[in-house]
Symmetry: D2
């Protein structure tokens, strides 16, 4: 079985919803198992998580976009991964990423680009959404990839929406399809 | 009078609408004059435009986002500006940028970041929108900076919308306010 | 046999040298054939090249960094690839990229990030150098990946160096190893 | 007097050397005072620092590049600045940034681009180095801006070099000139 690790930070629960959708997609892929790893509010993970990452076929990164980039808790995890970087321990593992923020654009692309940059420090193989976007007048937040991420999955959660309300249907389905795509790719190439 | 030059490429007319809104804002600023320069379909500009840029206090860049970056016609202009780069002829001129594309995100941030990178090659001073975004459940395309550009102005024109229909009211007003902000800054600092 | 296409623009011959090194590496991989495609000074390619790309297992992008991004001729090729984007014709093809410029950094990362962004519009799978960098006091331009590209291969050609003199030994060997890595990956995953 | 605040994190002392050079340049500018603020290993600053930032005319950001971006301690500061973002308290303050890492390129541009993105969330005015690079065969680490940052100042400290040895002469002089440029601009425009 291909092992898919999804490591993420969520501040208020919206990115957690997105992570769960990525997980549901990855877990549904034939030949794959998927596990969620939540970075804690101090930017830490249990040692066992690091052991799991070393065994994983794919590591997917997730964080809200705060002040134009990933949350510091995620960056603390990324900096701690330098231990693996020294030996290129994650080389050739599949990578992907997802992010959520309150506004339509709001520098989400900056966070996805950072995930990519991190993955390349590790020598990973990046897999994006592989989707067209829904971009006609008839489309809206319920449409798949209306938020329009190519390199990774993006979601919008308005500032006054609870995690029960947002991300919306389209963003969650996009996350689910993305998780499935990455897992399928990991199964095919392991 | 502070001279504001807005140099842009538009493929189908939507970015032209956005450029005209930036122009209207800049022209409305007390103490400023503003001029639009349209890059032609071959990526060229008349020689007189280059003379004007050399005299300008601010040069604002605009292009649709095509395939994840500015249109090639804009890039041809940027490459031609290397003549000015050799002598740092545009050093300390104010800079800004705007872009339009069919989907909500769709790598617009990549284009704005390129405009910034170009401006820094020239030693220019970058002025972003200076706006918060409209990001509550009650907001939508009619709200100011709902599309949510910070480093520059962003607009959405659905793939099946004519330039009469899109960019929408909120994006055009954002562009107008951005043009006014840059012109005000150029007046204040010249 | 896995087919590796290397499509690049070179203004003065230095990036051509880098492209040839990538090609040599790709062609040396067991089970792979590699072909170079030079974008002409007007930003065009023969129709047959486009047919070849459609059949390729990997498409590698190359351009000098001019004014903080890929040359306009490369961007014209990228914009022309929108025809393939409409049908996601290049989805799941392996991707990579390389760039050369006169100075040590000089915004090379911006060009590599653009290649990545383009590849993700197409739904491609990105493979970086997978190398550590040579970064001790004893290292220099002759060392492998001293220029230190992770997401793609980078090279330095001083402004007064001919294509016979630059890129240097280390950069060319980095390019060769990168070409081999991409080809090996394409063979393994096709 | 224009007040210049330089806020930075340094892990091993090399970025501290760079920060001190930026400070020396800023402090030497006629009509400006400059202060260094070191983010501590837990990512915190004293409350008085935040008060000072609110009064500053320019805020300059500095961090090593770790795993392709600013250190998490810097990002923790950036996330904490969201309190000021809510009220746009730093709008129109001048901004700049600098970074150091062990290899020649090594994703330094990613860190500078993040500093820029942060500054634009705050509505700040970005001032880059305004320098050409030293890029001929005769140039080397002792030359000004040989490392070649345009949007911000870059430095190289080999992995086995102590802070007494690196960053080198050229990088430190580049940092000094950049500090002076930002301070001069803040004086001129306050």
């Amino acid at each position: 079985m291909a092992k898919i690790a999804i490591v993420y930070f969520s501040g208020y629960g919206h990115t957690k919803k997105q992570a769960e959708a990525v997980h549901a997609g990855a877990a549904s892929a034939s030949g794959a198992t998927a596990t969620l790893y939540a970075i804690d509010p101090e930017g830490n993970l249990p040692d066992s998580a690091w052991d799991d990452f070393d065994q994983a076929d794919a590591i997917i990164y997730g964080s809200p976009t705060y002040m134009g980039g990933p949350a510091w808790q995620f960056k603390k995890f990324a900096d701690a991964s330098s231990k693996r970087w020294f030996t290129l321990a994650w080389k050739d593992k599949v990578a992907g990423g997802f992010t959520n923020s309150a506004s339509a654009n709001g520098d989400k692309f900056s966070t996805i680009t950072y995930f990519f940059t991190l993955s390349q420090q590790h020598g990973q193989i990046w897999v994006g959404t592989g989707m067209k976007s829904s971009n006609t007048k008839a489309d809206g937040p319920d449409s798949i990839n209306w938020t329009a991420g190519y390199a990774g999955a993006m979601a919008i959660s308005p500032a006054d929406a609870s995690p029960d309300e947002a991300p919306g249907k389209g963003d969650l389905e996009t996350a689910r399809l993305y998780g499935a795509r990455i897992a399928d790719y990991a199964v095919k190439t392991r």
